[in-house]
Structures are given as C-alpha cells and as structure tokens.
C-alpha cells in the first residue's frame, strides 16, 4: 500500500489526534440539578463503579474507538492505494478492437477450450473488462495533493475508428464509453485509430535556441506529453504496417484470445449466371480453415429460406509452424514461441436453376447436424448471404448503316432481342418523343441530331449507349479530330496510327481482354475534360481510346470508342467480340445500378462488407427512403433508419456494422431488378464478412507496427492500482457507529 498524500495526512494527524485527546480530557459540561441529598446517589455511583468490570477500560474504550475512527479517516486523507503497475505516462489512450474476430468465444484463457460452454466469453467482453480495470487503476487527482490525475481517451476501431471519449479524468465517463462498445462484423484496420490517437498531440513543438536561448516553435515535430497507447486486440490487423505510433509514445499490446484458437469460415462468395443460359445459376463459396487437422463439414445453401443444397466439404489441415522469437524484444520475452498458421482453403460450387431473383445464404455446419462446426470460435463467418438479381436477357438495338463486323460480333450474343435500325428510323423515334425501348443502343458512327435547335439539352435520350466511331458533344469529351487530318491539334503527331498502351485490366468490360495486338490506323483524337466524370478505360498512344462516360444525373451512360473500328485490325481480333459482349453486358447490367462499394470494390453487386459504407443510387424521384437493418438479437436500437436521398438519387448509409441483409425501401419509381409492392420499391443488400485474415482468428503474440514490434504484455490482465481511501472512510464510519453503540449501552442499558 502506498500513499498519494502522506504529508497531508501526517499534518492532519498532528493536529487532529492531540485535539481529540485534549478534548477527551476536558470535563463533560453537566447540567446542575439540586437534590435533597446526594447520599443515595453517591452510594449508587460507588456501587455501580464497584460492580462494573473493567470500569476504567470502559471509560477509555470510547477514546480508543474515537482514535480508531480518526485514524481511519486520516489514513483515508492520505489517499492510500494498492500499488499496481506504475504507469509511466499520465495520459492513456485506450484502443479497443471491436472487429469481427473479437467476437470469438475464447476471451477467457482459462475456460476457452469449448466455445459452446455458457461461460465462454468473447474477446471483446474480456477486453472491455480489462479496459475498465485499467480505468479503475488510473491514479486520480488527490483531493489534497497537487498532482494531477491521469487522463484517458477511448478509441474503438474495426475498419474505421471512432473516438468514443476524448481525454478526460472522469472515470465514470470512461467506463460508460467502454461499456457502450458493441461488437461489429467488420474486418480490422488500425491505421485510422492510430491516426486519431495521434491527433491529440500537437505537431508544433517549442524548443529553445541553443545560442540565443529564445524559444522558437518548430512545425512538424512531435510535441506534447507522451502517451501510453493501450491496444486491446487479437493482433489480427490487416494494415499493421501503416500503424505508426508516436516516437515517444509507449505502446502496450494487451492480447486477447488464444493463439491456438481455430476457426473455419466463408471467405469468398460469388454467384454467376451462365452466359448461355441465364437461368443456370452457379454459386461459389470459398471456405478457410485454421484447424491443424483435416476437417469435414457440410456447406448448406438455402435460397429464400429453403435449403437448396448441401455439399460435404473436406478441408485439409492448416499448416502450423512454430518458430522461436528473435531476441529483439525485452529479454524476458526473447524465447517466446511464435506460432504462424497458413490457413487451408477449399471451395464448393452449387449449381441451381433459377431465373428469378433470390436471396441466397451459405452456411457452414457440422456434418449431419444443425450445429456449427465443432470447435469453431467465431460465428460471424459461418454464414454469408447474397442478393441475386433475376436472370435477364438484354434487348439491344444496333443503329447502323450496315456494319459487317458489328453484325458478326452481336450475332453470337445471348440476347433477348437484337434489332438493327437505320439512323433515320432511330432519329424518328427520338424526335417523336417515344421511349427508346432497348437496354442498350449501339450507335455506329452516327449521332442523333439535337432535339432542340439550340442544342442545350442532351442529344441523346436517357439510356445506355455503346458509341462507336463518333464522339457525343456533351459527355465531357472534346473531339480533336482525326489524327493527321487538317485541323488537328497543333503539335500532335501526324500519321494517325495508334496502339493501346494501357487499359484498366480490372474493369468489368476489359477484364479478360488483351489489346496489345490492336493497331488503329486512323485514330480520332479526343480529350477528356477534367471533372467531367468520364473515365478513360483504355489509353492509346494518341490519347484516350475507350471512355466510360455518364451523365451526372444518371440519366444515361455510354461507353465511347471514338475511332472507327473498321480502320484498323481490332475488328478482326477476338478481343473485339469479347469487348462487345462485355460492354453490352456491362451497360445492360449497369442499368441495375449495383451498389458501388468503397474499398471493397471486388465484391459482387448487392454485397457489401461490414465496416464499409453502403452507397448506391436510387432511381431519380425516389423519396422517403428507409433502410431496414438486419434482425439481430444482440443489437438494440431502431431496426429501421431513414435515409436522405440526394437529388440524383444517391443514398449513403454506414459504415455498416453487422453482417446480414439490409433492405432499402422507398416511394417512387423502381429500377430494373428492384422489387415493387405496396406502392413502395425495395432493394436488398447483403453484408458479409468474407475476409480471410479476419477468419484466421488465432491471436498474435506480437504486432509489427510500422516503427516497432510490440509484444503482447505477459499476462494480459491489467494489474489494478486500486484506491483504498473509500474503504478506510467506511471503516471510520463503522467505528463511529460502534462507538455510538457503546456509548448508548453505557448510558441506558
């Protein structure tokens, strides 16, 4: 036990104890009463004193009790505490990981073996408990001591990070902030959390000039008091290399969970409709296991709540390597055995015939049982769902004066309808104000005339266009003319020949293409206006070759190929056919307006990852949009939130916290693929974890930050630094009560 303010207590004792003793020696001021005789009273007092045992002691026991009470109160004034770990810094940042892997049920190292046991606690629960212990142990500002108490800040992170409580010394606020942390199903990123944590310290420091002694401030140095950063995590952090703590800050890594915990989970999920027969639906699920023995599990597919298929999956054993830690860290941790696991992967494919849209769910379970796989620690990745739009064949109009290559390329596509229209017919349709009536319109070296003479309104009606050999005037693309022709931009190379030098290989249209052999003999040179929203998909040696353009209001979208495909060898190349097919599919599919996800761009449409922001575009005119959150028992709060719809129909919600199905409903027009009912339209999104590193839940013993490697603190439990003054004050109260009892016994009994 140590004292924070021993001097104050000693001074108080020096004053109070002699005062009490002196007071005790003062005579009791008695009321004077005249009696006829004191004869009998004196005898009674003598008798009483003679009869009462320990009379003198009894007289003094009050003094002893009062001294005891006073002593306890004085000890309380001294602010005693049980010395726990001595904290170096007085400012602490408590960073708690709430990602999906923190829901693994191996928080308690003692009772961790069986995730089904009712005593199993999640890592997050244990983290919160230990963080509370840390908060309790922080030294408080003593009432009588001049020293300041410690302050702490609570940061919670998964993919994103949030400051839950700014620096404060108020422990109840800190405890409340810690208690309010709920688990999410998002993957782990720590970089933002560390940036938030570092944001507290000013980047401007004051140093004294060594020559003149003047103080001068220098920008860019780390200043301010160093802090202790406490990280409660399982160490499975994707972006550890980006986590840069301050140079003078102390980083304490409290590992939760066990390194040998194993898990299996769905790490990939994808659906695909057969190109030839869109009613044929293939669903691929990729499963990862970190168990060190081969396991056999069932993978269950249910569509619309009905079990549509069960596949038994043999998962090979994960490769577990152990290595001795390098002697880099503190000497007592040099011999720690580091365990690395290379997870085993396997996949399963379901073939289903289904033309309508569906909500499909894939679930892992123990063989021939409805239970989750035995020993599985994390439930979040045992199921994943997805939203599959209905199968749809596109109707395509080719507006051409006759193009052999085009006709040949389109002929083989599995389309619902392919009409070949002359420009005049198409112009008449536009001018009459009729709807275009096709999913995709291919304009071959022709552009319709502006509907209004001034040309202010777009020349193209709303729709999806593949524009070949011409440049529409109002898409943010500036036509610079044919290369080598008169009027070409001064300085441009003559000759007109161009080759593709770069293209977006991960774009849906160009994904499987090789454009290297393509030579364009007469290149039309264009420029993309800055800020127009048009994206250059493929760059030729003479400027943009393929451009993805769309209007800002989402009315129409176009892929523009400015040069004439007949001038060059592309039309003869197989990549042209593939391009045409992909472009038509992309444009037609794009009309579904699949969700645009940030960071998780590789997910199929209709799927988002927890931790990211759901951002999508509803049809123009949608209003009263609401998002219904997935039904989850452990999540309180509103199950429905309203969304504000931007004028262009864009909605943003998030970041998404938990996996499950999110349903956006609105009043107004529905786009293709949306379900309509009760006067409102609905669109579904599935949020799934699908993160291989998050599913590998074995806790790490060290985290390799950008600037240093931090080992888990041995015995992750926080050693409490408990203040004891309350107990001493209670003891003083108890002694005072006892003294009162004794006094009353003396008087009345």
């Amino acid at each position: 036990m140590t004292f924070l303010t021993p001097l104050v207590a000693a001074i108080a004792a020096g004053i109070a104890i002699p005062a009490l003793v002196a007071l005790y020696f003062l005579k009791l001021r008695r009321r004077e009463v005249e009696v006829s005789t004191t004869l009998l009273w004196k005898r009674a007092i003598q008798d009483l004193q003679a009869n009462a045992p320990f009379q003198r002691l009894r007289r003094n026991i009050l003094l002893i009790l009062q001294l005891a009470a006073l002593g306890a109160a004085l000890v309380a004034v001294g602010t005693p505490r049980v010395a726990g770990r001595e904290h170096l810094n007085s400012r602490h940042i408590i960073m708690i990981d709430r990602s999906a892997s923190m829901s693994a049920l191996d928080g308690d190292e003692s009772s961790a073996a069986d995730p089904a046991s009712p005593r199993a606690r999640t890592r997050l629960e244990v983290s919160k408990q230990e963080a509370r212990k840390l908060v309790d142990s922080l030294p408080e500002a003593g009432v009588f001591s001049g020293r300041e108490g410690s302050e702490a800040m609570v940061v919670v992170f998964d993919t994103t990070a949030e400051v839950r409580q700014q620096f404060t010394g108020d422990k109840s606020l800190l405890r409340a902030a810690i208690d309010a942390i709920l688990p999410t199903d998002a993957p782990t990123r720590m970089g933002e959390a560390m940036r938030l944590a570092k944001a507290h310290s000013p980047t401007r420091g004051t140093v004294a000039d060594p020559r003149s002694g003047e103080l001068m401030s220098i920008e860019g140095v780390e200043a301010g008091e160093p802090v202790t950063v406490h990280i409660w995590s399982d160490g499975k952090v994707a972006d550890l290399a980006e986590v840069k703590p301050g140079l003078s800050d102390e980083v304490v890594f409290h590992r939760v969970g066990r390194p040998e915990s194993a898990n299996m989970g769905i790490v990939g999920l994808r659906w695909e409709r057969s190109y030839e027969d869109p009613t044929q639906l293939s669903i691929f699920a990729s499963v990862q296991s970190t168990f060190d023995e081969a396991r056999r599990i069932d993978v269950e597919l249910s569509i619309g709540g009905q079990i549509a298929g069960i596949r038994t999956l043999e998962l090979p054993a994960a490769e577990v390597r152990t290595s001795r830690a390098s002697g880099e860290g503190p000497s007592d941790q040099a011999g720690v055995i580091i365990r690395t696991v290379a997870p085993a992967n396997s996949g399963v494919v379901f073939q289903v015939e289904r033309s309508s849209g569906a909500i499909a769910q894939v679930r892992l379970r123990a063989t021939n049982s409805d239970q989750p796989p035995a020993g599985d620690m994390l439930a979040a990745d045992n199921s994943a769902s997805m939203v599959i739009p209905p199968a749809r064949k596109l109707s395509v109009a080719a507006v051409t004066r006759g193009n052999l290559f085009l006709a040949a390329a389109l002929e083989g596509l599995p389309l619902a309808r392919l009409d070949t229209r002359t420009p005049e017919e198409f112009q008449r349709t536009i001018t009459s104000g009729q709807e275009v009536g096709y999913d995709v319109v291919i304009l071959d070296s022709w552009l319709p005339e502006s509907r209004t003479p001034g040309g202010s309104s777009p020349s193209l009606p709303a729709g999806r266009y593949l524009i070949l050999g011409s440049v529409p005037p109002d898409l943010g693309i500036v036509d610079r003319g044919m290369a080598g022709q008169e009027g070409a931009t001064p300085g441009s190379r003559l000759g007109g020949e161009a080759v593709f030098i770069d293209w977006m290989r991960d774009h849906a249209v160009l994904r499987n293409l090789t454009l290297d052999p393509v030579v364009i003999t007469e290149m039309r040179m264009v420029e993309v206006e800055r800020g127009s929203g048009a994206v250059v998909m493929a760059q030729t040696s003479r400027g943009p070759g393929i451009i993805d353009a769309s209007s800002s209001d989402g009315q129409w979208r176009a892929i523009v190929v400015p040069f004439d495909i007949a001038r060059g060898n592309w039309a003869f190349d197989v990549s042209f056919v593939v391009f045409m097919a992909s472009a038509v599919e992309y444009l037609g599919g794009a009309s579904d307006s699949g969700p645009v996800t940030i960071e998780a761009g590789k997910l199929p449409p209709g799927m988002v990852q927890p931790g990211t922001i759901l951002s999508d575009r509803l049809p123009v005119g949608a209003r009263d949009a609401k998002i219904r959150l997935p039904a989850s028992s452990d999540r309180s709060g509103p199950s429905e939130e309203s969304l504000s719809v931007a004028p262009d129909g864009r909605i943003v919600y998030g970041p998404i916290r938990v996996r499950g199905l999110y349903e956006v409903g609105w009043t107004g027009p529905a786009a293709a693929g949306d379900s309509v009912g009760d006067g409102s339209s609905r669109r579904m999104y599935a949020a799934n974890l699908l993160d291989p590193s998050e599913s590998d839940i074995g806790a790490s013993d060290e985290i390799a930050l950008a600037s240093r490697v931090v080992r888990a603190r041995a015995g992750s439990a926080v050693e409490s630094d408990r203040p004891l003054w309350r107990w001493f004050l209670l003891a003083a109260l108890a002694v005072v009560m006892l003294e009162w009892f004794v006094y009353n016994r003396k008087v009345h009994v």
Partner: protein, 331 residues
C-alpha cells in the same frame, strides 16, 4: 428530590387544615401503646391512682391517709380500715417533631408542607382531646412570629423575623392544651421554614433534654442524615417515649425521573455528585433507597419505634385516618 418550585407556604390554620379534614379529625383521639403518667388531670386513665370514678384497688389504711377515701362499708363488715383506690384519669403528652432542614424543602409536593400539615392535624387531634401537645422544629429558620404565645409558657419566645436556627438547634412550643390553643400551634408551625443543614444527633439531644414526662413522640422527617439517624433516635427513645418515626419522601425521591449528564448538588451542604443517569444507575439508586429505608425500619423495630414511610403525595387524611390509625396512634 428537586427543590420545591411552588414556594407558597402556609400562613395560618386554614392553610394547614381545611374544614373537611377538621370534621373528620374531630371524633379521633390519640392512643398510646403504653399508659403513661400524666401531669395534669385529663381524660385518660393513668397509672396513678387518682380521683376518678373508676375503682382500682384497696389498700390498708396508714396514718396520714385521707380519711375521705376510707371504705366504710368494709370497715363495717371487717372492722378494719381499708382505703379505696381509684384510677386517675390523666392527659397524654403528644410531641410532634418536624425536620426543617433544607432537604425537607424538596419534592413536589413539598415534603415540608406535608410535614406541617401532618403535624397540625396530629396536634389538632391532641388539643381537642385535652392532651398536652408540644411541637419541636429541628433546624430551619423562624419567620416573624406575630405575638407571644399565649399562656406565658417559656417554650416559645418572640423571635426576630427569619432568625436562623442553628443546624443542631431546635425551636419548640410546649404544653399546649385545649382547642383554644389550636391557633397558637398553627402559628408556630407556619412561622417556620426549612433552611440549612441539620445535625440530627444534637437536635435530638436537645429535644431529649427539653422534654418532661413521658408521652407519644411523632418524628416527621426524611431521615436522610449524612451523620446517621441511629444516635438521634436512640436519644429520643431512651426516655421512655412512645416514638413514631414517619419518613416522608417526595415522589421524585422514590422514583427519580432525571436523565442526562448531571451534576447533582446537595441543597444542604452543597456536596456535588456527577452522574450520567442510566438505567443501571437508577436501578442501583432505587435499590439503595429501599435498603436505606429497610435499615431504618429494622432499627426502629429493634427499639420499639413505630416506623412509617410515606410519600409527600399521600394525602394527610389518609395518613391520619388510615395509616396512623392502623399503627395505633389515633383511634
């Protein structure tokens, strides 16, 4: 126990005896367990042969006897001279002693007032039955006595107002007889008020020296004497008086109702006792009081003193008509 707050003192017989009580006292007469020789002829049968009508005995004639008492009938029959003896009817001496120490002036109702009324009532009974009545007040102080006690008796002299009587001294009125002297007795009793301490032994000594003959002595006191009651009582009983000791205690003394941390001061000698009143202390006090009165009763019983303990709340008529009648003082 506490000093009497109502300081109204009796000023005359009407304060001491009301007419109702007088009416109930009138049929009463004093009695004594012993038959004493009186000094004057009275209405009481005496030990001495006297001149009453009641025959007592015969004895042979000796020269010098009064010839009028010779029983001539016997002389006629036996031819011998016998003298006829008659029982003498004589008066009874009643001596009332009041303790006027300051401790008597305590209690609610006041012990002293009660003693005054009791003494007056007994004196009245004695006077109306033609007994000799004396009253002695031990200690205290004398207020102004308006005039000399009639009868020229030297027992009471005119005294200046509020003359303190010494702690071992007494003031007395003696040889009152007949209903006419009631007022004198009342005046004497009213003129006294309690004051100062009392040395019971020396007061008793004076009383014993002062009194003449034999009779009934009633001592009204609380008998709370720090130097003890034994010597005084022995002196008083030693001269063949039929002594009644009536211990008058206030209700507050019998059952104290004080609480708290107190400094108890003796009204007589200023002696202080610091007490923290508690249940055990009160229990112990009552036990001591009982032991004290029991000791007094035992002492009295051993010396043929009739002992009676009363509260100052006991009405005077109850005391006279009931308690003392049972004890045989009145009939």
């Amino acid at each position: 126990m506490l000093r009497t707050t109502n300081s109204k003192r009796p000023t005359g017989i009407e304060d001491l005896l009301d007419s109702e009580l007088i009416a109930r006292l009138d049929p009463l007469d004093l009695a004594s367990r012993k038959v004493f020789a009186g000094k004057l002829r009275g209405e009481r049968r005496s030990k001495r042969r006297g001149q009453s009508v009641e025959f007592a005995d015969h004895r042979p004639y000796v020269v010098g006897d009064d010839l009028r008492h010779i029983d001539w009938n016997i002389f006629g029959r036996l031819d011998r001279l016998f003298l006829k003896l008659f029982l003498e009817e004589e008066d009874l001496a009643l001596h009332v002693v009041i303790d006027a120490s300051e401790s008597s002036d305590c209690g609610e109702p006041s012990k002293f007032a009660h003693m005054q009324r009791s003494a007056m009532a007994l004196g009245y009974v004695g006077l109306v039955n033609l007994n000799r009545v004396a009253c002695t007040i031990m200690g205290g102080a004398r207020g102004g006595v308006p005039r000399r006690v009639e009868g020229g008796d030297p027992g009471v002299a005119d005294e200046p107002a509020d003359l303190a009587v010494g702690p071992g001294e007494v003031s007395a009125v003696r040889d009152l007889r007949g209903r006419r002297r009631t007022h004198d007795l009342a005046r004497f009793i009213c003129a006294s008020r309690p004051s100062g301490p009392l040395l019971f032994r020396s007061a008793a000594e004076r009383i014993a020296l002062m009194r003449r003959g034999k009779g009934v002595m009633v001592i009204l006191s609380d008998f709370m004497f720090k130097d003890g009651y034994e010597d005084g009582l022995r002196l008083l009983v030693g001269r063949g008086y039929d002594v009644f000791a009536i211990q008058v205690l206030s209700p507050q003394e019998i059952d104290p109702s004080i609480v708290g941390d107190l400094r108890l001061r003796d009204v007589e000698d200023g002696d202080a006792a610091e007490v923290t009143v508690s249940q055990p202390l009160l229990k112990r006090y009552k036990a001591n009081l009982d032991a004290y009165t029991d000791g007094l009763r035992d002492y009295c019983a051993r010396r043929e003193i009739t002992y009676l303990r009363i509260s100052s709340a006991t009405p005077v008529d109850t005391l006279i008509l009931d308690l003392l009648r049972r004890k045989g003082l009145v009939r």
